[in-house]
Structures are given as structure tokens and as C-alpha cells.
């Protein structure tokens, strides 16, 4: 019999991460005199569980300390002892000691590596349980700071009686700092960095100045210039290091947000009559304090939705063949410069049919629009304002209005991304992708219409230089074919109502921005710079500007607006819809299925066809297209070739095998222009093969008209 103890020790560490904060809160409540009987019971159970688990795992020092703590808590529970400052001080020391042991386990120590429990502390705890308080306190209670500490205190091992004198002289390894002082330091660092950048300009000016000096003075000046340049460069390094460390001081582990969630999940589940196991992973990942503050509310809302809407009642779960207890996992991990936070459950999943019905009932979308949505797009309707599918309103999830607020917080305030995946009967998963900090990011500075603007790097896909001849017209929308993808082209100057500057040359510079699946090509005049910059939030009186998300300083005095890319994408989409409505006609009612894995391409082809009076349904890959084609008849099918799950060739072949589609027009639109590919397209049964490079809307529509008669 050889059990893998390490796996269980890891589980023990995770469980202790639930119990220890609860013990701390309970001791704090005892200290302030408002802990009730049930809270003391909870403390006792936490200590009891830690003792039992550690004993099974041979974690002897933890068992001993937990046992002594349990004795004292038992006396408090029985009422034979009252919570005096001496008692709460002993309990605080016990919790600190337990936390220290757990930290060592988390760092890889085994049971044999743990130091022995502090005998003096254990004896003091058990003596206190019998009413024998020590004549003098072992350590004086630490005064509580007036504001919440910005830095988590590292736990120090409990001191023994023999070392009382020595420990009184030893200074703490940590210092509590008020948060506003840290913010002041970070703001000053930002100013220093901006000022320092100005020195580079001076170095450049000095070099230019040297050309105007008489020949005999240029030698000494070159020496001066070189020394100045070296000095500025070495300060670059110091500044960067200092700023990084200043920002790091404001980093906190995600456990400050996750631990309350785990506790809350059990309380909510109990109130709802449901059963849940909540697991927290990756709570040691660190984020900027500002990020964590704003992250708590979205996470709480997602948690409430998971418990209220997602997890079924135990009887329902058993009827579905599931364990009565639901699983809720909150996990975080680092992905390059991003932190990913995921919350997933094994509940009922989101009912697409319920979403559709509610969207129709609330008139958020029309029936025709619903038919055109992919399953994923249907799911994401829950992010629209006012959406709610809960059949009965409960205290915990209200009317479901929060989901759009959750998304807005993550995307707009935190510059992050929120993704949703759900499978009926299996569960739901929300994935948040967040930058490490809002304070400093890589920024591209561009010039448009004589105005300098910034875009944060996570939104930038690429820069493209091309001739304006490369654009095609699609339903009145200028479009660029970028590899296999259709990307709308918009003049940034026009979008921002800035003066257009026509360049003498025929080349156009495009800044391609993206957010999840959506891309947009912005015509700009020039790229000025790209570097890490301090982002300053907009002052209150400027926050009404939807297209601006912040400011950065450039040089000594100039401020540059940061563009809010999600708002740009939204503004562009509205403009397109308005133009599209003007061209709609009801002359023809032929139904077309468009299959393409690129959202941009699907939308453009749909716009083109609807502008000519066709009714369009979209599919995002070959299998999706096949399922939709078999579900209802279409007059024609347009399909891309390179798609995941099932490519366009396979889709065409499968459709030709079906009686309904044996002779229906099928058009392949692809970037593959080799003759072999074209021949293969014809072989699998396509009626037409259009290469995207030679794509234009008239060609497509003429082909359709020819094939449809």
C-alpha cells in the first residue's frame, strides 16, 4: 500500500487556505467582542478539521498545535472561558504558527521537514483552556493600523518562552504602509520617468549643437556629450528598475479576492438548498491592487450566477446522473503579460433555447437576427443589458442585470477580455483575461490629422502599408483582404472628425486593431513611437468621452489621448449598420448559407448579400454549416475552404451526397488560387470557385444570379 502522500498534502494546503483566513476572521471578531456562539463553533470545526487531516498525513507539528488550539476554542465554546486579550493573543499566535507550517508545506516541505511545534505556545494554549492564564502576556498585541495594509504580512514563527527577551528586541521583517503613500510613490515614479525621458531629447539636441561649434571646441564637446549620454543611459536602467519595484509593492496575491469567494460560495449554496465543493487554484498569482479592487465585484456576480442559475438542486443532479454535490472551480494562471482568471461549474449549462426565447421576448433581437446567430453568438446575448433567464427572481442574482455590468467592468475598466463557454448539461465556464497592471503598458503613438493619439499594445494586431488600390468595396464598406480574412477599413480621422490629410504618395498606412474575433483597419498618417508608458486615468470631468480610455504624457508637457479600441469597434459597427439599412430591398427572398470561420468575413459577405436582397444565415465552420444546411433548406451555399472541424471541400462533398443539395448552387470562396485547388473544388461538386484576391461584390452577386436564375 503506497499512497501518493504528496497529492494529499497539496489538498491539505488548499483546504488550509480556506480554514486559516476563517480562523483569522474569527479571532479578530473575538478580539472585538462580537463573535457569536455559531462563529466560535465554526472556529472549533476549522481547528478540528486541520487537526484530523494533518494527523492522517503525519504532519505531527500541525496536529499538536491544532490540538492545543482546539482545546482553547473548546473552552470558549463551552463558556467556561471568556475571550480576554490574552486569550485572543494566544489564538492569533496559534493561527500564525499554523499558517507558517502550511506555507512551508506549500513551498514543498514534507511532514518530516517541519520544525517541531512551539511547546511553550502549546502549553500556554492548553493551560489557558483550563483557566490558567500566564501571569504576563507572551507578546504584546500589535496595534491595528488605521487603514488596511497594502502589503500582506509574512508570518513569523511563534516565539517560545525561553526566547521572550530576545524576540522583544527583534524587529519585524515587514512594515505596514498606508496605501495612499504607495500610490504617491508610484505617481511620483511616473512623473520622474516622464521627466527623465526628456533628457534623451537633450542628448540629441546636444549632438546636433556640436556641428555648430568651431573645430577646435568639438573635441572637448564630444567627450562631454558621450559622458552625458552614458549617464542618461545608466539612469534609464535605474529608473526602470525603481519603477518596476514600486509597481511590485502594490501587487497583491489573488487570494485576497478568491478566499472570500470560496467562503461565500458555501454560504450561498446552503441558502439556496444546493451542495457545492468550491476549489481555488492559483490564488498566489499577483495582480495590481487596483485591478483586484475592481475585480471583486465581477467575480462575486459570476459566483452568484453559477450557484443560482448554474448548479442544480441535489435531486435534479441525481436525476441527471451527477453527484449531488456540484463542483465550482476558481482558477488563475499567468500567461505572458496577462493573468487569466477562470470560474467554471459542472452545473446545467446555459440553455440556448431559453436564451433565444428571452431575447425575443425582450425584443433584444429579431427572429431573423436570431436565425443568423451562431451558437456562441447566441450564448453571448446574455451580456446584453437587461437580459435575464432566471424563471424566478431570487435575492442572490437579482434580475440578472449584472452580466452586462460584469462584461463592461472587465473590458472597459480593466482593459481585459471576458469569454464564455457553456455546454448544456455539463456546465459553464467564464474566462477573464487581464493585464497585470493598469498603471503601465506598451503604447503605440500614431499621428492622425495633425493630432497625436495612443493605442495600447494588446489591442494592436499589426501595421500594414499598402496601396489604396488594394481595398475592395463590400456593401459600401471599404475592405482589406488580409491573408484569409476580410477586415473593414475606416479612416481614423473621419471616425474622430479630424481633418483628413491626403498624402502625395499612393501608399496608405493601416493600424489593424482587434478585440477577440473582431478586427478593424484604421487609416493613420504615421507611426510616431512605441514604448512602455505610464497611463493616467482620465480626471472625473473628462470621463464622459467614450472613445478615450486614458492619457499618456509625451515629452515634457504634451498629453496624448489613448483610444478605447472596444468603443471604436462599436462605433464602426453602428456606422456600417446604418449604411446597410439604406440599401436593403425586399425584391428577392432567396436564402443563402454563408460558411466561414472568420467573423469579419462572415459579416462582410452577409452585408453584401443582404444589400442585394438575399436572406443570409451564417455558420462558423464546416460542421456548423452542415448541421444548419440539413436543418432547413437553403437556395445556395457560400463556403470558405480553410476552416477548423470540417473544411469547405469536405462540406461541399457532404452536401452533394444529400438529396436536397445535390443540384443546389455551392460557391467556394477562398484565398487558394492554385489550379489544383480549383480543380479539387470542382471535383467535390462546387459550381463556382472565387479567389478572394479577385473578389468583389459585383462578381459574387453576378455569380449568384447566374446560378440561381
Amino acid at each position: 500500500m503506497a499512497l501518493d502522500i504528496r497529492r494529499f498534502i497539496q489538498r491539505f494546503v488548499e483546504e488550509a487556505a480556506d480554514h486559516l483566513p476563517r480562523l483569522r476572521e474569527g479571532v479578530s471578531a473575538l478580539e472585538q467582542g462580537h463573535a457569536d456562539r455559531e462563529q466560535i463553533n465554526e472556529l472549533f470545526r476549522a481547528a478540528h478539521t486541520l487537526k484530523g487531516s494533518s494527523r492522517m498525513l503525519k504532519l505531527v507539528p500541525i496536529t499538536a498545535l491544532a490540538h492545543s488550539t482546539e482545546e482553547l476554542l473548546s473552552a470558549l465554546r463551552d463558556g467556561t472561558l471568556t475571550a480576554t486579550p490574552t486569550v485572543t493573543s494566544l489564538l492569533s499566535q496559534a493561527v500564525d504558527g499554523l499558517a507558517d507550517f502550511v506555507s512551508r508545506l506549500a513551498e514543498g516541505a514534507t511532514g518530516d521537514d517541519l520544525p517541531a511545534a512551539d511547546e511553550a505556545l502549546c502549553n500556554a494554549l492548553e493551560a489557558a483552556a483550563l483557566g490558567q492564564l500566564p501571569p504576563l502576556p507572551i507578546t504584546s498585541a500589535e496595534a491595528m493600523p488605521s487603514s488596511a495594509p497594502a502589503l500582506p504580512s509574512s508570518s513569523t514563527p511563534p516565539s517560545s518562552a525561553a526566547l521572550v527577551t530576545e524576540s522583544e528586541l527583534r524587529l519585524s521583517d515587514t512594515v505596514r504602509v498606508r496605501l495612499d503613500r504607495l500610490d504617491d510613490v508610484i505617481r511620483l515614479m511616473g512623473e520622474v520617468l516622464s521627466s527623465h525621458h526628456h533628457l534623451h531629447t537633450l542628448v540629441d539636441q546636444a549632438r546636433e549643437l556640436s556641428t555648430t561649434l568651431p573645430a577646435e571646441q568639438q573635441g572637448p564637446f564630444h567627450a562631454f556629450h558621450r559622458e552625458l549620454k552614458d549617464s542618461v543611459l545608466s539612469h534609464d536602467s535605474l529608473m526602470s528598475d525603481l519603477h518596476d519595484r514600486a509597481l511590485q509593492m502594490r501587487m497583491l496575491p489573488l487570494s485576497v479576492a478568491f478566499d472570500p469567494l470560496a467562503h461565500m460560495s458555501r454560504e450561498l449554496a446552503q441558502s439556496l438548498g444546493k451542495q457545492v465543493d468550491c476549489r481555488v487554484r492559483g490564488s498566489e498569482i499577483e495582480l495590481d491592487r487596483q485591478m483586484i479592487d475592481r475585480l471583486s465585484d465581477p467575480l462575486i456576480h459570476l459566483l452568484r450566477n453559477a450557484l443560482d442559475h448554474g448548479l442544480e438542486l441535489p435531486a435534479e443532479r441525481q436525476a441527471a446522473g451527477k453527484p449531488p454535490r456540484g463542483q465550482l472551480i476558481i482558477e488563475a494562471w499567468q500567461d505572458a503579460d496577462w493573468v487569466v482568471v477562470e470560474m467554471r461549474d459542472d452545473g446545467a449549462g446555459i440553455s440556448l433555447e431559453a436564451v433565444r426565447q428571452k431575447a425575443l421576448a425582450k425584443q433584444l433581437v429579431s427572429e431573423e437576427q436570431l436565425l443568423a446567430l451562431s451558437e456562441q453568438e447566441t450564448l453571448e446575448l446574455i451580456f446584453l443589458p437587461g437580459f435575464s433567464t432566471k424563471s424566478m427572481i431570487t435575492d442572490f442574482s437579482g434580475r440578472g442585470v449584472g452580466m452586462d455590468v460584469v462584461k463592461r467592468t472587465v473590458v472597459d475598466e480593466l482593459n481585459g477580455d471576458l469569454q464564455l463557454a457553456s455546454e448544456r448539461g455539463s456546465g459553464t465556464r467564464f474566462t477573464l483575461r487581464l493585464p497585470l497592471s493598469l498603471a503601465m503598458m506598451r503604447v503605440l503613438l500614431v499621428s492622425v490629422g495633425g493630432v497625436n493619439l495612443g493605442v495600447t499594445a494588446p489591442y494592436v494586431s499589426e501595421l500594414v502599408e499598402c496601396s489604396s488600390q488594394a481595398f475592395i468595396d463590400a456593401a459600401g464598406q471599404r475592405t482589406l483582404i488580409l491573408r484569409n480574412e476580410f477586415v473593414p477599413v475606416v479612416s481614423l480621422a473621419q471616425l474622430l472628425e479630424l481633418p483628413e490629410t491626403s498624402s502625395g504618395t499612393d501608399t496608405t498606412l493601416l493600424l489593424v486593431v482587434h478585440q477577440r474575433h473582431q478586427k478593424l483597419a484604421l487609416i493613420i498618417d504615421s507611426l510616431i513611437d512605441e514604448r512602455d508608458m505610464i497611463i493616467k486615468p482620465l480626471p472625473a470631468h473628462l470621463r464622459y468621452l467614450p472613445l478615450v480610455s486614458g492619457m499618456v504624457s509625451m515629452g515634457r508637457n504634451a498629453l496624448v489621448s489613448l483610444l478605447h479600441v472596444p468603443a471604436l469597434l462599436e462605433a464602426t459597427r453602428h456606422g456600417t449598420q446604418r449604411a446597410n439599412e439604406e440599401r436593403a430591398s425586399a425584391a428577392l427572398a432567396k436564402r443563402i448559407l454563408v460558411v466561414d470561420d472568420s467573423l469579419n468575413t462572415r459579416e462582410i459577405e452577409k452585408d453584401v448579400l443582404e444589400a442585394w436582397g438575399y436572406h443570409v444565415t451564417l455558420a462558423e465552420n464546416g460542421r456548423d454549416g452542415l448541421a444548419k444546411a440539413l436543418a432547413e433548406p437553403f437556395d445556395a451555399v457560400l463556403t470558405d475552404v480553410e476552416m477548423p472541424v470540417m473544411d469547405g471541400f469536405a462540406l461541399t462533398a457532404r452536401l452533394r451526397e444529400n438529396e436536397v443539395y445535390r443540384y443546389r448552387p455551392i460557391i467556394i470562396i477562398t484565398s487558394r488560387e492554385k489550379e489544383a485547388d480549383r480543380r479539387r473544388g470542382i471535383e467535390v461538386g462546387a459550381d463556382a470557385y472565387i479567389v478572394k484576391g479577385s473578389f468583389d461584390q459585383n462578381n459574387l452577386v453576378e455569380t449568384l444570379q447566374a446560378l440561381l436564375g
Binding site: M1, L3, F8, R55, Q318
Partner: protein, 120 residues
């Protein structure tokens, strides 16, 4: 054949189940007495119950008493974090009372073998 493990502490329950499975038994897990009763109703091949002693609301002893009152005479092994005293050991209907410590692996193995042998 299954052994039903009842424990309100998920870690302890899973460790107990892992011990039993490493000894060749199939296990089912329940986190409280109500869930244990549900498992007993749902699975007809449970031959032995291993239960924690201290659980909120309904303790292991109360679960045992409830089962006996319902004419359920499945073998029952009790686990406790404290040292079992003589009175506890001699509880009617109880086949064994073991301490949850590092020796549980050996003690539980012996107790399960003996209990299953006695109860055919």
C-alpha cells in the same frame, strides 16, 4: 461490491477512500448522513460503511443508530480523531472503532478484512 465512506471533511474522506481502493475495494463517498442514506438507496451493492464520528448535524453514531432503527444491519466501522474509549468501542451494532491517524492504513485494512469475513 462497494464500501461507503462517510466524512464531512472532503480531504479525510478522499484519503480514506484512497486507502480502501489501494487495498482493492471499490468505494462510494458521502459527505453527510443524508447523502449516505441517499447512496444506500441508490446502490444495492454496498456491503460496508466506514463513517467519521464527528460530523455536523448528524454524527457517525447517530447515523449508525438511525440505520439500525431502519433495520439496516450492514457492517459499520467508525473513525474518530480522538482515542476511542471502551464505551465507544462496545457500542451495539458497531464492528470496529478506529483512530484517524497515520496508522489508519494498517488498522483499517485489518478491520475491513475481519469485518467482511465475519459478515460473509
Amino acid at each position: 461490491m462497494h464500501i461507503l465512506v462517510v466524512d464531512d471533511d472532503p480531504l479525510a474522506g478522499e484519503m480514506t477512500a484512497a486507502l480502501l481502493e489501494s487495498q482493492g475495494h471499490n468505494t462510494l463517498l458521502a459527505s453527510d448522513a443524508m447523502e449516505a442514506v441517499e447512496q444506500l438507496d441508490a446502490h444495492s451493492d454496498i456491503k460496508l460503511i466506514v463513517s467519521d464520528m464527528h460530523m455536523p448535524l448528524v454524527s457517525g453514531l447517530a447515523l449508525l443508530e438511525m440505520l439500525r432503527e431502519q433495520d439496516n444491519h450492514l457492517p459499520f466501522i467508525l473513525l474518530t480523531g480522538d482515542t476511542p474509549d471502551t464505551t465507544l468501542r462496545q457500542t451495539p451494532g458497531l464492528n470496529a472503532c478506529l483512530r484517524k491517524d497515520a496508522e489508519l492504513a494498517w488498522n483499517l485494512d485489518a478491520a475491513v478484512k475481519q469485518t467482511l469475513a465475519l459478515n460473509g
